[in-house]
Amino acid sequence: MSTADAGSGRGSGTGAAPHRQDRGGRRTVASGFLFGCGIAASMVDLFIFHLGLQWHHFYDLSTPEVALAADGVFHAVGWFITVWGLFLLADVRRRGEVAWRRWAGAVVTGVGAFQLFDGVINHKVLGIHQIRYHVDLLPYDLAWIGGAALLLAVGALILWRTRPGRATG
């Protein structure tokens, strides 16, 4: 991530051409994955569940202190990787064409991966908060974790279909 690192993608793979393109390369996937995880962490939860449906609260006052600290770190990392992902995308774009389908596949994978993490670690293991209150949680948890696994599978499929070397449009 340092300035030296910014150029290091150039060295891997095809050699040090000044205009190294990242068509289907690792930087595209990293950008999409970080952005996907980031928007799932920082925006989906905030806009849909806090402000939209109002199923979660700002803070449910029952969270253990360790979990509150962990939540603060997830929150900070969420915003950080959202911005990081977008700057990586800008970097790929200034070096050449962006493989948009591959990037979109990585975003879907990222959203799925974070939602899975959120549903299992945050909701169940750490107990930071639940999806909804005063209801039977099982169907909600199953829908959340199942949905996350589905997104993860779809994202992985897109990444497989757009892998480098395969002739795609």
Binding site: M1, R10, Y59, L61, L68, G72, V73, V83
Partner: protein, 279 residues
């Protein structure tokens, strides 16, 4: 000091200040006015002294005066007045004084301007000072973040917060600390001024994440445990303002951090004008 207990008592002034006390507050306000006026004139004088050099970006000048405006709004006038009785108004003042104001001041590159404006010998002395051990320690991201976030934790989790309402000295020291620590932190993270000891991108990233985490955890903790003398509704509103307002500034800090990384990582063969124009 005699702070209020609960909002039920918060209709009148916190306590009837004596003559000497009223004088103390007036002196503190006067000092703020003088400092702001000095900073306004100083930047203008430096601009004039360096006008023979390459043009100075207008955005930087705008940042300086907008930053001073934020500091002034936090310390004088209606927000400062309301902050004596309302935690939410206090928090708005702190966003202006500790986050938005210092970031704007940092982005106006005052040190760069001073180096342009000062005569060569004075500029060399300033450079020597900036390279010195004290500045090196203070502008290290870990130290700057600890001063900034640590000061907030002390203020809100100890009796310091009610004390600032009763004592001119405590009030002035806390507000000076909030402004200076905010400036140091923004400068260490994203400052455009020359920084001979600039920390690496991974170090600054890790510190920024830790700072944002500490800020958001403190806001949630305050939501549940408002400082002594703050009512429940006021405490909850103030804590949410701290959380979402702080988040907004934090996202701006992250964007500024990465825009420097982006500019530094420009591939060879791409000139800045082309990449800035989005190819």
């Amino acid at each position: 000091m005699g702070h209020r207990h609960g909002t039920g008592h918060g209709t009148g002034p916190p306590d009837a200040p004596g003559m000497a006390d009223g004088l103390g507050w007036a002196v503190a306000d006067g000092a703020v006015v003088l400092l702001l006026a000095g900073a306004s004139v100083g930047y203008a004088v430096a601009l004039r002294a360096s006008s023979a050099r390459s043009p100075w970006p207008a955005g930087r000048t705008l940042c300086w005066y907008a930053g001073l405006g934020c500091v002034g709004a936090a310390l004088l006038g209606p927000v400062a007045e309301a902050a004596r009785a309302s935690f939410t108004a206090h928090m708005l003042g702190h966003l202006l004084l500790g986050m938005i104001g210092p970031l704007l001041l940092v982005m106006s590159a005052p040190v760069t301007l001073a180096l342009r404006a000062l005569p060569a010998t004075a500029a060399r002395s300033l450079t020597r000072l900036l390279r010195g051990r004290y500045v090196r320690v203070l502008t290290h991201p870990v130290v700057a973040a600890a001063l900034n976030a640590g000061g907030l934790w002390l203020l809100y989790t100890t009796p310091l917060y009610p004390l600032t309402h009763g004592s001119v000295l405590a009030h002035s020291l806390v507000h000076a600390h909030v402004l200076l620590a905010g400036y140091l932190f923004a400068a260490a993270m994203v400052g455009p001024d020359p920084d001979p000891h600039r920390a690496s991108m991974p170090v600054r990233s890790a510190v920024l994440i830790a700072f944002i985490a500490a800020h958001s955890v403190l806001a949630k903790w305050l939501y549940a445990h408002p400082p002594a003398g703050v009512g429940r509704a006021d405490g909850e509103a103030g804590a949410q303002l701290m959380y979402y307002g702080g988040d907004t500034v934090d996202v701006v800090l992250i964007v500024l951090l990465f825009s420097r990384w982006y500019a530094a990582g420009r591939p060879r063969g791409l000139d800045p004008a082309r990449s800035a124009a989005g190819r």
